[in-house]
Structures are given as structure tokens and as C-alpha cells.
């Protein structure tokens, strides 16, 4: 495909500064979000300032491991097909992120350990992929 997926047109147009930085870091191979040193807390989505104390937030890398928090399969998604299994992983730091699963729906269960990798095969943006870690 040449140029970004048309399904991404409005998504890309409206990315704010923290989102641009989040995806710039993913492009560079780093999964990270913002952390408030004063409140000692991660925020996801990443933000420029802490909503509680107003401090400017710093970026901090996240582990690439976690567990399945929730998952579903889209009957008709705009980007992924067969399978289009998407969901939320809870990382070891407690941060929850959205991603697309490599595994089939029937092989997933809440709580299973997953590793998080970068999906660079989708044009326009680097995204998060989840894969169940075998016992």
C-alpha cells in the first residue's frame, strides 16, 4: 500500500503532542508512557501534565510483559481481518494498553501472560501486538 491507510486519515490528523510522542517512541522501538514523579504514578493515555498535581510529566519505558485484561473479536474491523482479535493487556507496572492479538480468540483467557511486541506491518503507524507466552 502506498500512503497511509485511509482508515487512519482522521486518527493521524488529530494526534496531540503526547500521542505523537507515544507513537514516535514506538517507531523507535520503545513502549513508554508518562509518569508523575510527585504522585509516583503512571498515566495511560500519556499526558503533558498530571491532572492531580499539575506537574509536568516525564516519559518512562514500560515492560513488554503483562497479562490479558480483556479481549474480543470484531466482526467487521477497519484495519485487521481474520482474525481481528483486539483487547487490553495489563502490563507488569499496572498500566493497561490496547492492542491486537496474534493468537486466535479460542486460545485466549483473562489473566494469561502475554508479551507485547511492535506491529510494524500495518502502514501508517507502529502498533502494539500481544502474544500469549506458552506455559
Amino acid at each position: 500500500m502506498t500512503g497511509p491507510d485511509p482508515a487512519l486519515k482522521y486518527v493521524l490528523r488529530e494526534l496531540g503532542p503526547p500521542a505523537r510522542e507515544f507513537y514516535r517512541r514506538l517507531d523507535a522501538g520503545e513502549l513508554a508512557t508518562t509518569f508523575c514523579a510527585a504522585c509516583e504514578r503512571f498515566s495511560f493515555p500519556p499526558r503533558e501534565r498530571c491532572a492531580d498535581c499539575g506537574e509536568e510529566l516525564a516519559w518512562r519505558p514500560l515492560s513488554a510483559r503483562g497479562s490479558i485484561y480483556a479481549f474480543t473479536a470484531q466482526e467487521r474491523g477497519l484495519r485487521f481481518t481474520a482474525p481481528d482479535v483486539v483487547g487490553i493487556a495489563e502490563l507488569d507496572e499496572g498500566v493497561r494498553v490496547f492492542g491486537v492479538f496474534d493468537d486466535r480468540l479460542e486460545d485466549l483467557a483473562i489473566g494469561l501472560p502475554v508479551e507485547i511486541h511492535l506491529r510494524r506491518d500495518v502502514p501508517g503507524m507502529t502498533l502494539l501486538g500481544f502474544k500469549v507466552i506458552p506455559e
Binding site: 479481549f71 474480543t72 474491523g77 503507524m125
Partner: protein, 400 residues
């Protein structure tokens, strides 16, 4: 107290209401449906359109593209001059927030009477396919899910509701059969409602045998994307009395909005304290308790989310709504009849009109005009609406 928590405001009345049938209206524009509802509401109290001092509308749909400045186009079509004119947008809560905007104009004495209209008609776009322009609009629509969900091609909120439903079932040990009981109960209400889209009897087996749209959500646990329009006429108490009407009064308003957009990454997917907060604020201002309510219409766009809303509002303890529904506590004649209209799942769901359809149901119940669905002696009711995936909640307490 007063509806908006200030003693320096006037009491607002819902003077009239009207709607189209809910379902399929192919070839009819959203404005056409909205105007049908408006003229029904006006005719009910014999009010000429020219007496309206304000007009409060909402966008005319989701997938259907809309040019700016629709309020002006609508007044031109109606031939209406007003002193208050605005379009209000906040997802599924839009028309309830438009109602609030109208009431605030009246409560502060700016105007005495206004119409609130919500309508949409875009089912055809989904059923007959879309042209290039429609598809572009769908890309725009899907981008509402923001920078961390939309890039994954999540097409509709159904996926987000499914994730929430899965967590609810997991955390509270709720079985699929228990979720499926709710659509069955709502269908029993809809069977008695002449404007409802889906009125044929339904069984738990039917629900579980319906297509798995987005696991664990079955097709019959999701609302139809209906066409329909609804309108309420709001006025000051004095205006209503002057015309000899027996209106329904707004006695309490509450709203609370969380910071999450669709997927509540930080808050989790099964806890909605802002839904409870909006309910508490509205009831406190009305000087009422949850137990005082005779009837409630709750947004509940999906079976599991509706059950979670019952719990979040405080009607039942966490995880206990399915059993209460199965015991008939929310049925007509039950402890607290909820969604006697048939709810979103069976009345049908045109989101831009839904909160006003809910309000119409409560007003009909409170004025003894609900026909076979009538809850005997209903005097105090509640309307609740949400936006996103229960990311925010608005509540109106209505009384005769």
C-alpha cells in the same frame, strides 16, 4: 432544593412530548422525523409553532455527514423565529443535555417555552452499503475513539462494550444465560408499546442462538441502530399553569463525566462511580431517595452495560442485577419497573433521539397515559443517559 441546586431559579415543566415510531424510516430525513415528533408534541397541547421561544437540537446522526449551522437550516424549514437556538453534542447523552440547556434558559427566566428535538435516520447506510463519501464519514466517526484505540480499526463502540461485558462476567461470575435474561424481559415490555421496533416474544435460547457480534455480545444483546425522532416541549411552571396544562416537573438534575473516552484504561471497565454520582446529585436536588422512584428509564445500550448501570446507579449491589431482573424486580408491577418502553434493545435505539424517547415514556407513565404498560400510581420517575461507554451520565428526576 431545586432542580439545578439554586433557589434563584424557576421550576421547569415538561409540557408535552411526541415521537415517531422507532424502527425503519427509509427515505425520510432526520429533520423530517424530528418535525413529525415536534408537531405531535405541539398538537397534544394545541400550541402553534410560532409560540416557541427556543429551539434546542442535536446533530442529525453519526454516520450521516452533516453540514455546519444546522440550527439555522432547521428554523428556516419550520419558519420559526426564536430567542434561543443551539445544537448540543455529547454522544448518546446529547438530547438529554439539550433538554438541560433548554431548562436552564427557562429556569433563569430567559424564555418561557422551548422545543427540544432529537432524531436520526441512517439505518439504510448500514444495511444497503455506503458510497465513498459515507465511508469517509465512517472513518471520521471511528476516529472518535481516540489516539490509542482508533488506530486498531475499532469500528464501533460495540467492541468496547464487549470488553466491558467480558470483565463484568469474569469479575462477578455472571453466566451468559443471566445476561440473556434481560433482553427477554425488555421484549415483554416492548410487546405492550405500539412505537417499539421489536415486539415479537423472545426466549433466552433465542438470545444465545443469535449471532455472536463481538464476543461475549450476541446480536440480541445489542440494540438495533434504529431510525426515529422524539421531541419534548419544556416550559416554565407559570407558563404551563397559564395554559391549564397538567405537566410533569423537572425536580432534580445531575450529571457527572469521567475523564475516559470509550476505553477506561485507568479506571477499569466495570466500575462507574460517576453514574452513581449523577444519580445522587439529581435525587438530592429533588429531595428524593432511590427508593422513592416509581419508574426509571435507563440508557443501557447493551444487555451487560444496562445491568451494570442498574448497579452503578444503586438499584442493586454489584453483580446482583441479573438475579434481580430474573426475579421480576424490574418488570411492570415489580419493585422498580425499569425501561417499561422496551429499552434500547427492544424499543429500538436512535441514539440522537433516545433520551427524549426515554423522557416520553416516563411522562406517559406519570400522566397515566402508558396504556397496557401503565405502572399503577407512578408519580416519581427518572431518566438517565450516557455517552461513550458509560464514560459520563446525566440524570433527570421527573414528578407530577
Amino acid at each position: 432544593m431545586s432542580a439545578f441546586g439554586s433557589e434563584r431559579t424557576l421550576r421547569c415543566a415538561v409540557a408535552s412530548w411526541g415521537s415517531t415510531t422507532v424502527g425503519r424510516h427509509p427515505g425520510r430525513t432526520p429533520s423530517e422525523l424530528g418535525f413529525e415528533a415536534l408537531h405531535k408534541a405541539l398538537a397534544r397541547i394545541d400550541l402553534p409553532p410560532a409560540e416557541l421561544e427556543g429551539l434546542f437540537i442535536v446533530p442529525h446522526g453519526y454516520a450521516r455527514a452533516q453540514a455546519p449551522l444546522r440550527p439555522s437550516r432547521v428554523t428556516e424549514e419550520l419558519g420559526l423565529s426564536t430567542r434561543a437556538l443551539v445544537e448540543v453534542e455529547c454522544g448518546g447523552a446529547s438530547s438529554l443535555l439539550a433538554f438541560k440547556a433548554a431548562c436552564q434558559e427557562i429556569a433563569t427566566g430567559q424564555i418561557e417555552v422551548a422545543a427540544v428535538i432529537g432524531a436520526q435516520s441512517e439505518r439504510r447506510l448500514y444495511e444497503d452499503g455506503m458510497d465513498e463519501g459515507d465511508l469517509d464519514r465512517v472513518y471520521l466517526l471511528a476516529s472518535m475513539m481516540g489516539s490509542y484505540v482508533a488506530p486498531y480499526g475499532v469500528l464501533t463502540a460495540v467492541s468496547c462494550y464487549a470488553l466491558s461485558a467480558q470483565r463484568y462476567m469474569h469479575e462477578h461470575g455472571v453466566a451468559a444465560e443471566e445476561i440473556a435474561e434481560l433482553p427477554v424481559r425488555l421484549r415483554q415490555h416492548a410487546a405492550l408499546n405500539p412505537i417499539a421496533e421489536q415486539r415479537e416474544p423472545l426466549s433466552v435460547e433465542d438470545v444465545l442462538a443469535s449471532r455472536m457480534v463481538c464476543p461475549p455480545v450476541h446480536k440480541l444483546e445489542a440494540p438495533p441502530w434504529s431510525d426515529g425522532g422524539a421531541c419534548v416541549i419544556v416550559a416554565s411552571e407559570e407558563w404551563a399553569r397559564r395554559r391549564g396544562l397538567e405537566p410533569v416537573f423537572l425536580t432534580g438534575w445531575g450529571e457527572a463525566h469521567d475523564s475516559a473516552n470509550f476505553v477506561a484504561f485507568e479506571q477499569g471497565l466495570t466500575s462507574f462511580p460517576w453514574v452513581r454520582r449523577s444519580t445522587e446529585i439529581a435525587l438530592e436536588r429533588a429531595g428524593r431517595h432511590l427508593d422513592d422512584l416509581d419508574i426509571a428509564e435507563i440508557y443501557g445500550a447493551f444487555a451487560a452495560s444496562e445491568l451494570m448501570t442498574y448497579e452503578a446507579m444503586g438499584f442493586f449491589a454489584d453483580g446482583e442485577a441479573p438475579a434481580a431482573v430474573a426475579r421480576g424486580e424490574t418488570a411492570i408491577g415489580g419493585r422498580i419497573p425499569i425501561n417499561t418502553s422496551g429499552g434500547r434493545l427492544s424499543l429500538g435505539h436512535p441514539p440522537q433521539a433516545t433520551p427524549l424517547l426515554e423522557m416520553q415514556e416516563v411522562c406517559q407513565q406519570l400522566t397515566g397515559d402508558a396504556g397496557e404498560r401503565q405502572v399503577a400510581g407512578a408519580a416519581i420517575g427518572l431518566v438517565q443517559a450516557e455517552h461513550g461507554v458509560m464514560n459520563g451520565s446525566a440524570v433527570a428526576v421527573l414528578e407530577i
